[in-house]
Protein backbone atom coordinates (compact mmCIF):
# COMPACT_ATOMS: atom_id res chain seq x y z
CA UNK A 1 0.00 0.00 0.00
CA UNK A 2 2.75 2.45 1.07
CA UNK A 3 4.85 1.44 -1.93
CA UNK A 4 1.96 1.57 -4.39
CA UNK A 5 0.62 4.94 -3.28
CA UNK A 6 3.75 6.82 -2.24
CA UNK A 7 7.09 5.22 -3.12
CA UNK A 8 6.36 3.89 -6.63
CA UNK A 9 4.95 7.15 -8.05
CA UNK A 10 7.77 9.13 -6.45
CA UNK A 11 10.56 6.82 -7.64
CA UNK A 12 9.20 6.85 -11.18
CA UNK A 13 8.74 10.62 -11.21
CA UNK A 14 12.31 11.00 -9.97
CA UNK A 15 13.63 8.67 -12.68
CA UNK A 16 11.56 10.47 -15.29
CA UNK A 17 12.99 13.85 -14.22
CA UNK A 18 16.49 12.32 -14.20
CA UNK A 19 15.93 11.19 -17.78
CA UNK A 20 14.72 14.67 -18.79
CA UNK A 21 17.61 16.47 -17.05
CA UNK A 22 20.46 14.92 -18.99
CA UNK A 23 20.93 12.09 -16.47
CA UNK A 24 21.97 14.51 -13.74
CA UNK A 25 20.79 13.07 -10.43
CA UNK A 26 21.70 16.15 -8.41
CA UNK A 27 19.48 18.34 -10.59
CA UNK A 28 16.79 15.66 -10.50
CA UNK A 29 16.75 15.73 -6.66
CA UNK A 30 16.53 19.54 -6.67
CA UNK A 31 13.69 19.68 -9.21
CA UNK A 32 11.87 16.74 -7.63
CA UNK A 33 12.04 18.27 -4.13
CA UNK A 34 10.74 21.61 -5.42
CA UNK A 35 7.99 19.85 -7.35
CA UNK A 36 6.78 17.92 -4.30
CA UNK A 37 6.93 21.06 -2.16
CA UNK A 38 4.85 22.90 -4.77
CA UNK A 39 2.27 20.13 -4.77
CA UNK A 40 2.02 20.30 -0.96
CA UNK A 41 1.93 24.11 -0.98
CA UNK A 42 -1.84 24.37 -0.34
CA UNK A 43 -1.37 22.24 2.79
CA UNK A 44 1.51 24.40 3.99
CA UNK A 45 -0.48 27.55 3.30
CA UNK A 46 -3.42 26.19 5.25
CA UNK A 47 -1.12 25.27 8.11
CA UNK A 48 0.42 28.75 8.24
CA UNK A 49 -2.96 30.43 8.13
CA UNK A 50 -4.34 28.28 10.94
CA UNK A 51 -1.24 28.83 13.04
CA UNK A 52 -1.53 32.59 12.58
CA UNK A 53 -5.20 32.58 13.56
CA UNK A 54 -4.40 30.57 16.63
CA UNK A 55 -1.62 32.97 17.56
CA UNK A 56 -3.89 35.99 17.22
CA UNK A 57 -6.53 34.23 19.26
CA UNK A 58 -4.11 33.49 22.06
CA UNK A 59 -3.06 37.13 22.20
CA UNK A 60 -6.66 38.37 22.37
CA UNK A 61 -8.00 39.97 25.53
CA UNK A 62 -10.84 37.48 25.73
CA UNK A 63 -8.36 34.58 25.77
CA UNK A 64 -6.12 36.21 28.34
CA UNK A 65 -9.10 36.94 30.53
CA UNK A 66 -10.37 33.37 30.69
CA UNK A 67 -6.81 32.19 31.45
CA UNK A 68 -6.79 34.40 34.54
CA UNK A 69 -10.38 33.73 35.47
CA UNK A 70 -10.20 29.92 35.41
CA UNK A 71 -6.58 29.54 36.44
CA UNK A 72 -7.31 26.85 39.03
CA UNK A 73 -10.02 24.97 37.15
CA UNK A 74 -8.61 23.13 34.15
CA UNK A 75 -11.91 21.58 33.14
CA UNK A 76 -13.71 24.91 33.08
CA UNK A 77 -10.78 26.53 31.31
CA UNK A 78 -10.88 23.86 28.64
CA UNK A 79 -14.62 24.33 28.13
CA UNK A 80 -14.19 28.08 27.79
CA UNK A 81 -11.32 27.66 25.34
CA UNK A 82 -13.43 25.36 23.17
CA UNK A 83 -16.24 27.92 23.26
CA UNK A 84 -13.91 30.67 22.06
CA UNK A 85 -12.51 28.42 19.32
CA UNK A 86 -16.07 27.84 18.14
CA UNK A 87 -17.03 31.50 18.30
CA UNK A 88 -13.93 32.64 16.42
CA UNK A 89 -14.13 29.83 13.86
CA UNK A 90 -10.67 28.49 14.75
CA UNK A 91 -9.88 24.80 14.79
CA UNK A 92 -7.35 23.86 17.48
CA UNK A 93 -6.00 21.19 15.12
CA UNK A 94 -6.04 23.43 12.06
CA UNK A 95 -2.28 23.85 12.00
CA UNK A 96 -1.50 20.25 12.93
CA UNK A 97 -3.59 18.43 10.34
CA UNK A 98 -1.79 19.69 7.23
CA UNK A 99 1.50 18.81 8.93
CA UNK A 100 0.26 15.30 9.67
CA UNK A 101 -0.74 14.89 6.02
CA UNK A 102 2.65 16.17 4.86
CA UNK A 103 4.70 13.74 6.93
CA UNK A 104 4.08 10.66 4.76
CA UNK A 105 4.92 12.75 1.70
CA UNK A 106 8.20 14.00 3.16
CA UNK A 107 9.19 10.53 4.35
CA UNK A 108 8.19 9.07 0.96
CA UNK A 109 10.23 11.71 -0.83
CA UNK A 110 13.26 10.79 1.20
CA UNK A 111 12.74 7.06 0.71
CA UNK A 112 12.29 7.54 -3.04
CA UNK A 113 15.63 9.35 -3.27
CA UNK A 114 17.41 6.64 -1.29
CA UNK A 115 15.73 3.85 -3.29
CA UNK A 116 16.78 5.44 -6.58
CA UNK A 117 20.40 5.76 -5.46
CA UNK A 118 20.61 1.93 -5.31
CA UNK A 119 24.27 1.07 -4.81
CA UNK A 120 24.08 -2.56 -3.73
CA UNK A 121 22.46 -5.61 -5.34
CA UNK A 122 19.64 -5.71 -2.79
CA UNK A 123 18.86 -2.03 -3.28
CA UNK A 124 18.97 -2.30 -7.07
CA UNK A 125 16.80 -5.40 -7.01
CA UNK A 126 14.28 -3.55 -4.84
CA UNK A 127 14.41 -0.59 -7.20
CA UNK A 128 13.63 -2.89 -10.13
CA UNK A 129 10.36 -3.83 -8.42
CA UNK A 130 9.27 -0.17 -8.21
CA UNK A 131 9.85 0.88 -11.82
CA UNK A 132 6.87 1.36 -14.14
CA UNK A 133 7.12 -0.28 -17.59
CA UNK A 134 7.19 3.03 -19.49
CA UNK A 135 10.33 4.27 -17.71
CA UNK A 136 13.40 3.38 -19.81
CA UNK A 137 15.10 1.78 -16.82
CA UNK A 138 17.66 -0.28 -18.75
CA UNK A 139 19.03 2.86 -20.40
CA UNK A 140 19.07 4.85 -17.14
CA UNK A 141 20.70 2.30 -14.82
CA UNK A 142 23.15 2.73 -13.25
CA UNK A 143 22.14 6.25 -12.29
CA UNK A 144 25.00 8.70 -12.43
CA UNK A 145 25.43 9.52 -8.75
CA UNK A 146 27.98 12.27 -9.28
CA UNK A 147 26.98 15.92 -8.86
CA UNK A 148 29.55 18.71 -8.68
CA UNK A 149 32.27 17.28 -6.39
CA UNK A 150 29.94 14.79 -4.75
CA UNK A 151 29.00 11.16 -4.98
CA UNK A 152 25.35 11.43 -4.01
CA UNK A 153 25.22 7.85 -2.78
CA UNK A 154 28.02 8.36 -0.24
CA UNK A 155 28.38 10.71 2.73
CA UNK A 156 29.82 13.93 1.28
CA UNK A 157 33.28 15.34 2.08
CA UNK A 158 35.17 18.01 0.14
CA UNK A 159 38.86 17.34 0.56
CA UNK A 160 40.88 20.51 1.00
CA UNK A 161 44.57 20.20 1.94
CA UNK A 162 44.01 16.56 2.82
CA UNK A 163 41.11 17.29 5.17
CA UNK A 164 37.62 16.05 4.33
CA UNK A 165 35.17 18.87 5.01
CA UNK A 166 31.46 17.97 5.18
CA UNK A 167 30.31 21.01 3.22
CA UNK A 168 26.74 19.84 2.69
CA UNK A 169 26.28 18.94 6.36
CA UNK A 170 27.48 22.44 7.30
CA UNK A 171 25.00 23.96 4.84
CA UNK A 172 22.24 21.80 6.29
CA UNK A 173 23.01 23.08 9.81
CA UNK A 174 23.11 26.70 8.60
CA UNK A 175 19.95 26.57 6.48
CA UNK A 176 18.00 24.65 9.13
CA UNK A 177 19.06 27.21 11.74
CA UNK A 178 18.17 30.16 9.50
CA UNK A 179 14.85 28.59 8.63
CA UNK A 180 14.04 28.03 12.32
CA UNK A 181 14.97 31.59 13.26
CA UNK A 182 13.12 33.21 10.39
CA UNK A 183 9.93 31.33 11.01
CA UNK A 184 9.76 31.72 14.77
CA UNK A 185 7.50 34.57 15.76
CA UNK A 186 8.71 36.76 18.63
CA UNK A 187 7.47 35.22 21.83
CA UNK A 188 6.76 36.66 25.21
CA UNK A 189 8.74 35.33 28.13
CA UNK A 190 6.85 32.47 29.69
CA UNK A 191 4.58 32.03 26.65
CA UNK A 192 3.27 28.52 26.25
CA UNK A 193 5.52 26.48 23.97
CA UNK A 194 8.18 29.19 23.67
CA UNK A 195 10.77 27.24 25.61
CA UNK A 196 10.21 24.14 23.58
CA UNK A 197 10.48 26.13 20.36
CA UNK A 198 13.74 27.70 21.48
CA UNK A 199 15.19 24.34 22.44
CA UNK A 200 14.17 22.84 19.11
CA UNK A 201 15.63 25.78 17.19
CA UNK A 202 18.99 24.89 18.70
CA UNK A 203 18.62 21.14 18.60
CA UNK A 204 17.15 20.56 15.13
CA UNK A 205 19.96 22.07 13.02
CA UNK A 206 22.48 19.75 14.65
CA UNK A 207 20.21 16.74 14.36
CA UNK A 208 19.65 17.41 10.66
CA UNK A 209 23.36 18.14 10.24
CA UNK A 210 24.22 14.83 11.83
CA UNK A 211 21.90 13.00 9.40
CA UNK A 212 23.48 14.88 6.49
CA UNK A 213 26.96 14.07 7.80
CA UNK A 214 26.25 10.37 8.25
CA UNK A 215 24.12 9.43 5.27
CA UNK A 216 24.12 9.73 1.48
CA UNK A 217 24.85 13.20 0.08
CA UNK A 218 21.61 12.97 -1.93
CA UNK A 219 19.74 13.23 1.37
CA UNK A 220 21.73 16.31 2.43
CA UNK A 221 20.96 17.94 -0.91
CA UNK A 222 17.29 17.25 -0.36
CA UNK A 223 17.45 18.83 3.13
CA UNK A 224 19.11 21.98 1.80
CA UNK A 225 16.70 22.41 -1.12
CA UNK A 226 13.76 21.78 1.23
CA UNK A 227 15.03 24.38 3.71
CA UNK A 228 15.64 27.00 1.03
CA UNK A 229 12.22 26.35 -0.48
CA UNK A 230 10.53 26.76 2.90
CA UNK A 231 12.38 30.04 3.56
CA UNK A 232 11.42 31.35 0.11
CA UNK A 233 7.84 30.21 0.55
CA UNK A 234 7.44 31.96 3.91
CA UNK A 235 9.17 35.06 2.56
CA UNK A 236 6.69 35.26 -0.33
CA UNK A 237 3.84 34.83 2.15
CA UNK A 238 5.32 37.68 4.24
CA UNK A 239 5.68 35.45 7.28
CA UNK A 240 9.43 35.68 7.72
CA UNK A 241 10.83 37.36 10.83
CA UNK A 242 14.04 38.75 9.30
CA UNK A 243 14.97 40.60 12.47
CA UNK A 244 15.31 37.25 14.27
CA UNK A 245 18.55 36.76 12.38
CA UNK A 246 20.14 39.77 14.02
CA UNK A 247 22.03 39.25 17.25
CA UNK A 248 19.96 40.46 20.20
CA UNK A 249 22.40 43.37 20.81
CA UNK A 250 21.52 44.79 17.38
CA UNK A 251 17.79 44.32 17.78
CA UNK A 252 15.84 47.56 18.00
CA UNK A 253 15.00 48.17 21.64
CA UNK A 254 11.53 48.97 22.78
CA UNK A 255 11.28 52.50 24.10
CA UNK A 256 9.19 52.67 27.19
CA UNK A 257 6.98 55.72 27.49
CA UNK A 258 6.87 57.39 30.81
Amino acid sequence: MWNTLIIDPMVNTLLWIYDLLWNNFGLAIIVFTVLIRLITLPLTYQQTKSAQKMQELQKSKQWQDIQKKHKGDREKLSQEQMRIYKEMGVSPFGSCLPTVIQFPIIIGLYQAIIASLAVTPTQLFNLSTHIYPFIPAAALIPLDNTFLWMNLSQPERLTIAGIGIPVLAIFVVITTYIQSKLMTPPSQPGEQGAQMTQAMNLYMPFLMGWLAYSFAAGLALYFIVGNLFTIAQYAIMGKVEWRNLLPSALMPKKVSKK
Binding site: A51, M54, S95, C96, T99, V100, F103, I106, I107, Y110, Q111, I113, I114, A115, L117, V119, T120, P121, T122, Q123, L124, F125, S128, A137, A138, A139, I141, P142, S153, Q154, P155, T176, Q179, S180, M183, T184, P185, G193, M196, T197, M200, N201, M204, L207, L211, S214, F215, A216, G218, L219
Partner: protein, 359 residues
Amino acid sequence: MKFKSPLIFFLLIVSVLILSGCAGGGQASATGWPGLAADESTAYLAHNRHIYAVNLSNGLEKWRFPVEQDNKRSFYATPTFTTDGQLLAGSYENILFSLDPATGVQKWSFAEANDRFIAAPLAIEQGIFAANANNSLYALDLQGTQRWVFPTTGPLWAKPVADPDCNCIYLPSMDHKLYSIDAQTGDTNWLTEDLQGSIVGTPAYDSGLLYIGTFANELIALNASDGRVVWRTPTSDWVWGGPIVQEGVVYFGVLDGTFYALEAATGSVKWQQKFDGAITQSPLVTEDKLYFTTEAGSVYALNLNGTTLWTKNLGFKLYTSPIQAGDLILIAPSGADEYLIAFNMDGAQQWVYLPEAKK
Protein backbone atom coordinates in the same frame (compact mmCIF):
# COMPACT_ATOMS: atom_id res chain seq x y z
CA MET B 1 10.62 25.96 12.70
CA LYS B 2 7.63 26.30 14.93
CA PHE B 3 6.12 23.62 17.13
CA LYS B 4 2.59 24.47 17.90
CA SER B 5 1.84 21.34 19.85
CA PRO B 6 3.51 18.30 21.35
CA LEU B 7 1.91 16.29 18.49
CA ILE B 8 4.10 17.99 15.88
CA PHE B 9 7.14 17.60 18.08
CA PHE B 10 6.36 13.90 18.43
CA LEU B 11 5.84 13.48 14.67
CA LEU B 12 9.12 15.23 13.98
CA ILE B 13 11.04 12.90 16.25
CA VAL B 14 9.29 9.87 14.71
CA SER B 15 10.13 11.08 11.22
CA VAL B 16 13.78 11.60 12.12
CA LEU B 17 13.90 8.08 13.50
CA ILE B 18 12.28 6.71 10.34
CA LEU B 19 14.71 8.66 8.17
CA SER B 20 17.74 7.42 10.07
CA GLY B 21 16.45 3.87 10.11
CA CYS B 22 15.85 3.79 6.39
CA ALA B 23 18.97 5.49 5.11
CA GLY B 24 19.94 2.66 2.86
CA GLY B 25 22.17 4.82 0.79
CA GLY B 26 24.60 5.37 3.58
CA GLN B 27 27.66 3.23 3.90
CA ALA B 28 26.64 1.93 7.29
CA SER B 29 23.61 0.02 6.06
CA ALA B 30 24.87 -1.50 2.85
CA THR B 31 23.18 -4.77 1.95
CA GLY B 32 23.70 -7.63 -0.42
CA TRP B 33 23.02 -11.31 -0.66
CA PRO B 34 25.32 -14.08 0.56
CA GLY B 35 28.28 -15.33 -1.46
CA LEU B 36 29.01 -19.04 -1.35
CA ALA B 37 31.96 -21.26 -2.40
CA ALA B 38 33.26 -24.69 -1.37
CA ASP B 39 36.25 -27.00 -1.66
CA GLU B 40 36.30 -30.77 -0.96
CA SER B 41 35.69 -30.47 2.78
CA THR B 42 34.51 -26.96 3.58
CA ALA B 43 31.90 -24.42 2.52
CA TYR B 44 32.90 -20.75 2.67
CA LEU B 45 30.06 -18.32 3.15
CA ALA B 46 30.27 -14.52 2.90
CA HIS B 47 27.30 -13.40 4.97
CA ASN B 48 27.14 -9.88 6.31
CA ARG B 49 29.68 -9.43 9.17
CA HIS B 50 31.76 -12.57 8.61
CA ILE B 51 33.22 -15.14 6.29
CA TYR B 52 32.15 -18.50 7.73
CA ALA B 53 33.93 -21.81 7.11
CA VAL B 54 31.52 -24.72 7.56
CA ASN B 55 32.40 -28.39 7.67
CA LEU B 56 30.65 -30.11 4.77
CA SER B 57 30.32 -33.43 6.55
CA ASN B 58 28.27 -32.18 9.50
CA GLY B 59 27.42 -28.49 8.99
CA LEU B 60 29.48 -27.33 11.97
CA GLU B 61 31.46 -24.12 11.95
CA LYS B 62 35.23 -24.41 11.56
CA TRP B 63 36.10 -20.73 11.83
CA ARG B 64 34.83 -17.29 11.06
CA PHE B 65 36.59 -14.16 9.92
CA PRO B 66 36.89 -11.76 11.61
CA VAL B 67 36.59 -13.56 14.92
CA GLU B 68 35.13 -10.49 16.61
CA GLN B 69 32.25 -8.84 14.82
CA ASP B 70 33.04 -5.42 13.37
CA ASN B 71 29.83 -3.57 12.52
CA LYS B 72 31.58 -1.47 9.90
CA ARG B 73 32.59 -4.57 7.96
CA SER B 74 30.38 -6.72 5.76
CA PHE B 75 31.01 -9.46 3.22
CA TYR B 76 28.78 -10.49 0.34
CA ALA B 77 31.14 -11.17 -2.59
CA THR B 78 31.55 -14.87 -3.32
CA PRO B 79 34.81 -16.10 -1.75
CA THR B 80 37.37 -17.22 -4.34
CA PHE B 81 40.38 -19.56 -4.26
CA THR B 82 43.68 -18.58 -5.79
CA THR B 83 45.84 -21.07 -7.65
CA ASP B 84 48.25 -21.19 -4.67
CA GLY B 85 45.56 -21.98 -2.11
CA GLN B 86 44.54 -18.60 -0.68
CA LEU B 87 40.93 -17.70 -0.03
CA LEU B 88 39.99 -14.21 -1.25
CA ALA B 89 37.12 -12.26 0.30
CA GLY B 90 36.04 -8.83 -0.90
CA SER B 91 34.23 -6.62 1.57
CA TYR B 92 31.75 -3.75 1.47
CA GLU B 93 34.24 -1.65 3.42
CA ASN B 94 36.36 -1.51 0.25
CA ILE B 95 39.02 -4.04 1.31
CA LEU B 96 40.02 -7.30 -0.36
CA PHE B 97 41.29 -9.88 2.16
CA SER B 98 43.43 -12.95 1.62
CA LEU B 99 42.78 -15.69 4.18
CA ASP B 100 44.20 -19.09 4.97
CA PRO B 101 41.28 -21.40 4.10
CA ALA B 102 42.34 -23.88 6.78
CA THR B 103 42.34 -21.44 9.69
CA GLY B 104 40.71 -18.19 8.56
CA VAL B 105 43.84 -16.25 9.49
CA GLN B 106 44.43 -13.14 7.39
CA LYS B 107 47.46 -13.25 5.09
CA TRP B 108 47.25 -9.82 3.48
CA SER B 109 44.76 -7.16 2.56
CA PHE B 110 44.38 -4.74 -0.32
CA ALA B 111 42.84 -1.40 0.65
CA GLU B 112 43.47 0.89 -2.32
CA ALA B 113 39.90 0.76 -3.68
CA ASN B 114 37.42 3.34 -2.45
CA ASP B 115 34.15 1.50 -2.98
CA ARG B 116 32.56 -1.88 -2.35
CA PHE B 117 33.79 -5.24 -3.62
CA ILE B 118 30.45 -6.63 -4.79
CA ALA B 119 31.87 -9.01 -7.41
CA ALA B 120 33.94 -12.07 -6.62
CA PRO B 121 37.56 -11.60 -7.71
CA LEU B 122 38.93 -13.66 -10.58
CA ALA B 123 42.05 -15.61 -9.57
CA ILE B 124 44.16 -17.26 -12.27
CA GLU B 125 47.85 -18.07 -12.72
CA GLN B 126 48.61 -14.54 -13.93
CA GLY B 127 47.25 -13.11 -10.69
CA ILE B 128 44.13 -11.65 -9.14
CA PHE B 129 41.62 -9.42 -10.95
CA ALA B 130 39.31 -7.68 -8.49
CA ALA B 131 36.40 -5.71 -9.90
CA ASN B 132 35.26 -2.83 -7.69
CA ALA B 133 32.09 -0.74 -7.65
CA ASN B 134 34.27 2.37 -8.16
CA ASN B 135 34.43 1.65 -11.93
CA SER B 136 37.88 0.03 -11.63
CA LEU B 137 39.38 -3.39 -12.14
CA TYR B 138 42.43 -3.95 -9.92
CA ALA B 139 45.08 -6.41 -11.12
CA LEU B 140 47.15 -7.75 -8.22
CA ASP B 141 49.86 -10.34 -7.89
CA LEU B 142 49.26 -13.26 -5.56
CA GLN B 143 50.79 -11.32 -2.66
CA GLY B 144 48.25 -8.54 -3.04
CA THR B 145 50.53 -5.99 -4.68
CA GLN B 146 48.82 -3.84 -7.29
CA ARG B 147 50.05 -4.35 -10.87
CA TRP B 148 47.68 -2.14 -12.80
CA VAL B 149 44.22 -0.60 -12.67
CA PHE B 150 41.75 -0.66 -15.54
CA PRO B 151 39.08 2.08 -15.50
CA THR B 152 35.60 1.72 -16.95
CA THR B 153 32.72 4.18 -17.08
CA GLY B 154 30.38 2.22 -14.83
CA PRO B 155 30.38 0.23 -11.58
CA LEU B 156 31.70 -3.33 -11.74
CA TRP B 157 29.47 -5.88 -10.00
CA ALA B 158 30.31 -9.01 -11.98
CA LYS B 159 33.27 -11.35 -11.79
CA PRO B 160 35.35 -11.22 -14.98
CA VAL B 161 36.08 -14.38 -16.94
CA ALA B 162 39.47 -15.54 -18.21
CA ASP B 163 40.36 -16.76 -21.70
CA PRO B 164 43.71 -18.59 -21.65
CA ASP B 165 43.78 -18.70 -25.47
CA CYS B 166 44.33 -14.96 -25.74
CA ASN B 167 45.84 -14.39 -22.29
CA CYS B 168 43.02 -11.95 -21.75
CA ILE B 169 40.09 -11.42 -19.45
CA TYR B 170 36.56 -10.33 -20.28
CA LEU B 171 35.14 -7.70 -17.98
CA PRO B 172 31.37 -6.99 -17.86
CA SER B 173 30.37 -3.54 -16.65
CA MET B 174 27.25 -1.70 -15.62
CA ASP B 175 28.18 0.91 -18.24
CA HIS B 176 26.47 -1.45 -20.76
CA LYS B 177 29.76 -2.65 -22.23
CA LEU B 178 31.99 -5.69 -22.10
CA TYR B 179 35.77 -5.17 -22.21
CA SER B 180 38.49 -7.51 -23.38
CA ILE B 181 41.68 -6.69 -21.46
CA ASP B 182 45.22 -8.00 -21.80
CA ALA B 183 45.81 -9.88 -18.53
CA GLN B 184 49.49 -8.98 -18.48
CA THR B 185 49.45 -5.29 -19.29
CA GLY B 186 45.92 -4.12 -18.61
CA ASP B 187 45.60 -2.75 -22.15
CA THR B 188 42.24 -2.83 -23.91
CA ASN B 189 41.99 -5.41 -26.69
CA TRP B 190 38.46 -4.36 -27.62
CA LEU B 191 35.25 -3.15 -26.09
CA THR B 192 31.71 -3.70 -27.27
CA GLU B 193 29.24 -1.13 -28.48
CA ASP B 194 26.68 0.07 -25.92
CA LEU B 195 24.64 -3.10 -25.31
CA GLN B 196 21.67 -1.00 -24.03
CA GLY B 197 21.66 -2.43 -20.52
CA SER B 198 23.84 -3.05 -17.48
CA ILE B 199 25.64 -6.36 -17.11
CA VAL B 200 25.87 -7.71 -13.54
CA GLY B 201 26.30 -11.43 -14.26
CA THR B 202 29.55 -13.20 -15.15
CA PRO B 203 29.72 -13.99 -18.88
CA ALA B 204 29.90 -17.59 -20.03
CA TYR B 205 32.70 -18.40 -22.45
CA ASP B 206 32.50 -21.36 -24.80
CA SER B 207 34.02 -22.19 -28.17
CA GLY B 208 34.98 -18.67 -29.11
CA LEU B 209 31.70 -17.07 -28.04
CA LEU B 210 30.81 -15.03 -24.96
CA TYR B 211 27.27 -15.12 -23.59
CA ILE B 212 25.97 -12.26 -21.47
CA GLY B 213 22.63 -11.18 -20.09
CA THR B 214 21.67 -7.53 -19.74
CA PHE B 215 19.09 -5.32 -18.02
CA ALA B 216 17.79 -4.53 -21.51
CA ASN B 217 15.95 -7.88 -21.43
CA GLU B 218 18.38 -9.65 -23.71
CA LEU B 219 20.78 -12.55 -23.82
CA ILE B 220 23.58 -11.67 -26.21
CA ALA B 221 26.27 -13.81 -27.82
CA LEU B 222 29.50 -12.00 -28.73
CA ASN B 223 32.46 -13.03 -30.80
CA ALA B 224 35.29 -13.36 -28.26
CA SER B 225 37.92 -12.27 -30.76
CA ASP B 226 36.51 -8.81 -31.48
CA GLY B 227 33.37 -8.26 -29.38
CA ARG B 228 30.95 -8.22 -32.32
CA VAL B 229 27.38 -9.27 -31.59
CA VAL B 230 26.64 -12.70 -33.07
CA TRP B 231 23.03 -12.96 -31.97
CA ARG B 232 20.62 -11.38 -29.49
CA THR B 233 17.60 -13.11 -27.98
CA PRO B 234 14.94 -11.06 -26.21
CA THR B 235 13.88 -12.15 -22.74
CA SER B 236 10.83 -11.32 -20.64
CA ASP B 237 12.72 -9.32 -17.97
CA TRP B 238 16.16 -8.24 -16.75
CA VAL B 239 18.85 -10.91 -16.88
CA TRP B 240 20.71 -10.64 -13.56
CA GLY B 241 22.66 -13.87 -13.05
CA GLY B 242 25.24 -14.95 -15.60
CA PRO B 243 24.29 -17.73 -18.03
CA ILE B 244 25.83 -21.22 -17.98
CA VAL B 245 26.68 -23.03 -21.22
CA GLN B 246 26.72 -26.79 -21.44
CA GLU B 247 26.61 -29.10 -24.45
CA GLY B 248 25.63 -26.30 -26.80
CA VAL B 249 22.81 -24.95 -24.62
CA VAL B 250 22.72 -21.66 -22.70
CA TYR B 251 20.83 -21.83 -19.36
CA PHE B 252 19.75 -18.76 -17.39
CA GLY B 253 16.84 -17.20 -15.51
CA VAL B 254 15.38 -13.67 -15.43
CA LEU B 255 13.73 -11.44 -12.85
CA ASP B 256 10.12 -12.30 -13.73
CA GLY B 257 10.87 -15.94 -12.87
CA THR B 258 11.21 -17.28 -16.41
CA PHE B 259 13.98 -19.82 -16.96
CA TYR B 260 15.41 -20.19 -20.48
CA ALA B 261 17.37 -22.79 -22.40
CA LEU B 262 18.73 -21.37 -25.69
CA GLU B 263 20.65 -22.94 -28.56
CA ALA B 264 24.16 -21.61 -28.04
CA ALA B 265 24.86 -21.40 -31.78
CA THR B 266 21.78 -19.48 -32.82
CA GLY B 267 20.06 -18.10 -29.72
CA SER B 268 16.79 -19.82 -30.56
CA VAL B 269 14.71 -20.87 -27.56
CA LYS B 270 14.85 -24.61 -26.84
CA TRP B 271 12.44 -24.30 -23.93
CA GLN B 272 11.33 -21.78 -21.39
CA GLN B 273 9.27 -22.01 -18.22
CA LYS B 274 7.91 -19.55 -15.71
CA PHE B 275 8.58 -20.21 -12.02
CA ASP B 276 7.35 -18.69 -8.78
CA GLY B 277 9.75 -15.79 -8.26
CA ALA B 278 12.63 -13.69 -9.50
CA ILE B 279 15.78 -15.58 -10.52
CA THR B 280 18.78 -13.46 -9.60
CA GLN B 281 21.61 -15.95 -9.91
CA SER B 282 23.32 -18.37 -12.25
CA PRO B 283 21.93 -21.91 -12.24
CA LEU B 284 23.98 -24.88 -11.13
CA VAL B 285 24.27 -27.16 -14.15
CA THR B 286 25.56 -30.72 -13.68
CA GLU B 287 25.99 -33.44 -16.27
CA ASP B 288 22.29 -34.17 -16.53
CA LYS B 289 20.45 -31.80 -14.19
CA LEU B 290 20.12 -28.15 -13.40
CA TYR B 291 19.35 -26.47 -10.09
CA PHE B 292 18.31 -22.93 -9.36
CA THR B 293 16.44 -20.93 -6.73
CA THR B 294 13.87 -18.16 -6.76
CA GLU B 295 13.28 -15.11 -4.61
CA ALA B 296 10.03 -16.78 -3.50
CA GLY B 297 12.15 -19.31 -1.60
CA SER B 298 11.91 -22.30 -3.95
CA VAL B 299 14.70 -24.65 -4.93
CA TYR B 300 14.14 -26.35 -8.29
CA ALA B 301 15.84 -29.40 -9.75
CA LEU B 302 15.13 -29.93 -13.45
CA ASN B 303 16.50 -32.28 -15.99
CA LEU B 304 18.11 -30.61 -18.97
CA ASN B 305 14.96 -30.70 -21.09
CA GLY B 306 13.08 -28.67 -18.49
CA THR B 307 11.15 -31.39 -16.67
CA THR B 308 10.91 -30.67 -12.97
CA LEU B 309 12.47 -33.46 -10.88
CA TRP B 310 11.84 -32.00 -7.46
CA THR B 311 11.10 -28.70 -5.84
CA LYS B 312 11.16 -27.40 -2.28
CA ASN B 313 10.01 -24.15 -0.78
CA LEU B 314 12.25 -23.13 2.09
CA GLY B 315 10.22 -20.09 3.08
CA PHE B 316 13.22 -17.74 2.82
CA LYS B 317 14.28 -15.36 0.09
CA LEU B 318 16.85 -17.01 -2.14
CA TYR B 319 19.13 -14.84 -4.26
CA THR B 320 22.41 -16.76 -4.16
CA SER B 321 23.45 -19.38 -6.71
CA PRO B 322 23.21 -22.95 -5.43
CA ILE B 323 26.54 -24.74 -5.54
CA GLN B 324 27.57 -28.37 -5.62
CA ALA B 325 30.03 -29.64 -3.01
CA GLY B 326 30.69 -33.33 -3.47
CA ASP B 327 27.29 -34.99 -3.32
CA LEU B 328 25.63 -32.01 -1.66
CA ILE B 329 23.72 -29.06 -3.01
CA LEU B 330 24.29 -25.98 -0.83
CA ILE B 331 21.76 -23.20 -0.52
CA ALA B 332 22.44 -19.87 1.24
CA PRO B 333 19.17 -18.12 2.18
CA SER B 334 18.87 -14.38 2.77
CA GLY B 335 17.29 -12.90 5.88
CA ALA B 336 17.00 -16.24 7.68
CA ASP B 337 18.48 -17.65 10.89
CA GLU B 338 19.63 -20.60 8.80
CA TYR B 339 22.71 -19.37 6.94
CA LEU B 340 23.37 -22.54 4.97
CA ILE B 341 21.25 -25.58 4.09
CA ALA B 342 22.65 -28.76 2.54
CA PHE B 343 20.58 -31.15 0.44
CA ASN B 344 21.58 -34.33 -1.29
CA MET B 345 21.12 -34.42 -5.05
CA ASP B 346 17.60 -35.81 -4.60
CA GLY B 347 16.48 -32.92 -2.43
CA ALA B 348 16.67 -34.58 1.00
CA GLN B 349 17.93 -32.13 3.62
CA GLN B 350 21.24 -33.21 5.18
CA TRP B 351 22.07 -30.47 7.65
CA VAL B 352 21.49 -26.82 8.46
CA TYR B 353 24.10 -24.32 9.62
CA LEU B 354 22.90 -21.76 12.17
CA PRO B 355 25.78 -19.62 13.38
CA GLU B 356 26.05 -19.17 17.10
CA ALA B 357 26.58 -15.69 18.45
CA LYS B 358 30.18 -15.36 19.63
CA LYS B 359 30.76 -13.50 22.86
